[in-house]
Structure formats: structure tokens, C-alpha cells
């Protein structure tokens, strides 16, 4: 019995060793890292809308204009203009597939967020750079999106030319700022990927390889624990020189 436990322990240690180092060192990294930096929000600012709705100018939302039914409709503001945001397919979470339409609440016109509008919205959320904001490139991305693995909607990506390589993401349907991602966040996310063994980058830890390795790890620690008890029982742990 003890012989096979020792055998198991020794050979499992060989298989699990490298992963164990990865788990522990990435865990240590999360313990020590600067959480503000890792959030990616170094240059993010709240979008303060000072918009006061002038109800005289308000046009009622024309639900009939849209060919799809709406489950909810919100009065929002984008770039200091009021808009009706229709949600045709409201998912449980924002990052799951949603379907939107936007209508200017003063003119009643339907609107789609184009590149220049995406840039303007992104700018309102960015506070860095003394000499203004230097935009490196703008792209419309369909999921999967490397920086935001959970996202399932089409996003505008506005890449900023700053030392942190900030990318600003906003939902192409609703214009909502999804987040800022910079190299500090990408660095932390890389460690999360390692910690979760999420090599397919789906953004969670429900994968077969981590289940497999954690089971091996469990057996390794149980066999080690039994071995320790066995040695202690035999009086092998002594402080004095044996």
C-alpha cells in the first residue's frame, strides 16, 4: 500500500511540477500586482453628461419605424445628444449577443455609429495626453476579440498612440464604452490565462485540461499527506541529528 502511494506520488510530481510552478507564480503575481494598473483604466475618465432633456424638443420614439420588436428602450445621451436606445434582443448580460437601434430623440432619425462618431465617443472617455489624443487606428471588430474574450457583440476598437498602448472599446450597436485595455491589463490577463489554463482564450476556467491537472494535483497532495503521516508515525521527523 505505502509502496504504491510512494510510486504514485513520485511519478505524479513529475507530471504536475511545471503546472504547479505556473499556478503558484501566477497566484503570487495576482497577490503582488498593482490592481489599479491591471484594470487598464489608467487614462479612463467618467463620461459626464451634462445634458438636460429639453422636453419641448423631444420626439416620441417611433416603435413602428423599426422592423423589429423592442423589449426595452432607454433614453440615453451620446455626445450631448439624447437618443432612444432600442433593445430588440435583450440578453441576460450586456456582453452576450444583444441587438440595438438608435434614434435621435430630438429629430426622430435613426442613426448608426460610424467611425467618426466612435472616435468622438471614445475621446470623451480618455483623459491622458497633454497634447490631446493621438489616434493610431480604428477598427470594427467581430467577436472573438482578443482583448475581451467574453464579448459577443461587434465592437469599435479605437487604438491610442500612448505609452501604455491603450485600446478603447465601445459597443457598435449602442455606443456604450465597454472598457479600456492597455499593456498593463494585457500583461495581467496573460497571467490569468496561465492560471486558468485557458489556452483557448474563452475567458473562464471551465476547461478539461485544468480539471485534469487539478485532479492529478489533488491525488499528489493526498498521497504526499499520507506519506508524511506514515513517516511521522515511524518517527522519521526528528529535530536532532539522526
Amino acid at each position: 500500500m505505502m509502496k504504491s502511494i510512494r510510486f504514485l506520488h513520485k511519478w505524479l510530481s513529475l507530471v504536475v511540477a511545471v503546472q504547479l510552478v505556473i499556478w503558484l507564480s501566477s497566484g503570487l503575481f495576482f497577490n503582488l500586482m498593482d490592481h489599479d494598473k491591471a484594470s487598464g483604466n489608467q487614462y479612463r475618465q467618467r463620461v459626464n453628461s451634462l445634458l438636460v432633456i429639453d422636453h419641448q424638443m423631444l420626439v416620441e420614439p417611433k416603435l413602428g419605424l423599426l422592423d423589429k420588436q423592442s423589449q426595452s428602450l432607454k433614453l440615453i445621451s451620446l455626445l450631448d445628444q439624447p437618443y432612444y436606445l432600442f433593445n430588440h434582443q435583450q440578453a441576460l448580460y450586456r456582453h452576450l449577443p444583444n441587438s440595438y437601434s438608435l434614434m435621435n430623440a430630438y429629430s426622430g432619425e435613426l442613426m448608426v455609429i460610424d467611425e467618426s462618431m466612435a472616435i468622438d465617443i471614445a475621446k470623451t472617455s480618455y483623459k491622458g495626453g497633454s497634447g490631446g489624443i493621438d489616434i493610431a487606428s480604428v477598427k470594427k471588430l467581430s467577436p472573438p476579440i482578443a482583448d475581451i474574450p467574453k464579448e459577443q457583440n461587434v465592437l469599435w476598437q479605437i487604438n491610442i498612440n500612448d505609452e501604455a498602448y491603450t485600446s478603447i472599446y465601445l459597443d457598435a450597436g449602442s455606443g456604450k464604452i465597454i472598457g479600456h485595455v492597455n499593456d498593463d491589463k494585457r500583461f495581467a490577463d496573460f497571467f490569468f490565462m496561465l492560471h486558468f489554463m485557458d489556452y483557448g482564450s474563452v475567458g473562464n476556467f471551465n476547461n478539461w485540461q485544468i480539471i485534469f491537472f487539478s485532479l492529478l494535483m489533488l491525488v499528489l497532495s493526498l498521497t504526499g499527506f499520507i506519506w508524511v503521516i506514515d513517516l511521522a508515525r515511524k518517527g522519521r521527523y526528528r529535530v536532532t541529528k539522526g
Binding site: F30, E60, S70, Q71, N204, S214, L231
Partner: protein, 223 residues
């Protein structure tokens, strides 16, 4: 933790995702009317409350932000949810088949699993296998959060995982020292593995001397 689907843990399957569409014919009270009656309204949303068109919005008052819900047909404000309505609503949202075990109105204090900004809230406990609970805001009629036993266990396990017995964040010094000692243990274990498993098995028959053998036995027995 890794075996359980995280979406299941977050109770995504507890809630009925289907929502009814807004019926234009039901709406005779417009956004304009709303802003005339409530000039300070913020975050105005038109949606449904059990198939009835409603406006929901917040309004800044002396006592902080308050949630208001209006009938989109008449503009009449809904009273705070009573027990019957809360139960009806919970049954409407709940995906399972179990009966409701208890409905409690939480007015002033929220349990740890509910943020106190949602108060006042109806806590609806279901008599199901997972001890599911829905928390429904009594002012907006929305399910603000949900919990079941597996999620509660998961939270506990996460606390153990990051060894934080105070705040639930993975940046405490207890974890730091345990991680450092564990790394030390792993590296010494790797040295042992190298000598005992790798070198041991691949050169066993060739160069193993008796002295070597004795040395190995000592290591094995922890002396």
C-alpha cells in the same frame, strides 16, 4: 471550482430570459409627458412589467436616489410591490418548477450576498434542490440578483482559495507567505523528483552503487 460551469454557478439558468416586447398600442403616456411630470427623471427606460408597458427611472431626492415605476398607459405610479405581487413576479421569472418556500421583505439590512443599494427588496426563497433565492426590488420590480447554494459554496471556496478571511481580495500577506513557502516546497520537490524519479529510473540498472542506494533510501524516508 473548475468542474462546475461558471454560468451555472452565477445562476444564469434560474431566470427566464424571454422578455415580452413593448406593445405600442398600450402606450398613451409619452416621454414628453413624463418629463413634464418628473423634470428631474434620470435613466428613463420603457420596458415591460409582466407584459404591461412601464417606465422605470431614478430621481434624485433629499433621501438619495429613488426608483420610480409608472404605468406607460396612464402615467400612474406603481405602489411598492406587495407580497402577492412579489410572489407572482418571482414565479414569472423563475425557470424551475419548485414552489416558493418563503417571501420576506428586506427593508433596512441586506445579507452579505446582496448589495444594500438595492433595498428595499423582496427575498423569495424557493423550495428546490439548490435552495434558490431571487431578490426582487420592490420599487422597480426587477430581479436585482439571485443566489443558490452552489454559488454560496463557490463564494466560500473562493475565500479559501485566496486565503482572505477579511475582505475577499487576493492581495493579503497571509496568501503571500503561503505562496512563497509553497513555491519553495515545489522547487525542493522538483529537486527530489529529479534525483529520485528521473535519474533513478533511467540509470537504475547501469551505475547504481550500493552507496547510492543507501542515500536514496535516506531521502525516501525523510531522514
Amino acid at each position: 471550482m473548475v468542474v462546475f460551469d461558471i454560468d451555472y454557478i452565477h445562476g444564469d439558468s434560474l431566470i427566464n430570459e424571454e422578455q415580452s416586447a413593448i406593445d405600442n398600442k398600450q402606450i398613451h403616456y409619452g416621454f414628453k409627458d413624463l418629463f413634464i411630470d418628473y423634470p428631474l427623471a434620470e435613466n428613463v427606460e420603457l420596458s415591460t412589467f409582466m407584459d404591461v408597458g412601464v417606465y422605470r427611472f431614478t430621481q434624485q431626492t433629499k433621501h438619495g436616489k429613488t426608483q420610480i415605476m409608472l404605468d406607460a398607459n396612464t402615467g400612474v405610479q406603481f405602489p411598492a410591490l406587495n407580497e402577492n405581487m412579489a410572489i407572482k413576479l418571482a414565479e414569472y421569472y423563475y425557470q424551475g418548477k419548485a414552489k416558493i418556500a418563503e417571501a420576506t421583505l428586506l427593508k433596512d439590512t441586506a445579507p452579505a450576498e446582496l448589495s444594500s443599494r438595492h433595498l428595499p427588496v423582496w427575498r423569495i426563497d424557493f423550495d428546490d434542490f439548490a435552495f434558490s433565492t431571487l431578490y426582487i426590488s420592490s420599487s422597480s420590480g426587477k430581479v436585482v440578483t439571485r443566489r443558490h447554494q452552489f454559488w454560496r459554496i463557490f463564494d466560500l471556496m473562493f475565500t479559501l482559495h485566496v486565503m482572505d478571511y477579511e475582505e475577499g481580495e487576493p492581495d493579503n500577506s497571509l496568501l503571500l507567505w503561503f505562496a512563497l513557502f509553497a513555491l519553495l516546497a515545489v522547487f525542493s520537490g522538483m529537486v527530489l523528483t529529479y534525483y529520485r524519479v528521473l535519474k533513478g529510473s533511467f540509470s537504475k540498472s547501469k551505475k547504481r552503487t550500493a552507496a547510492n542506494h543507501k542515500h536514496d533510501n535516506n531521502i525516501e524516508q525523510g531522514a
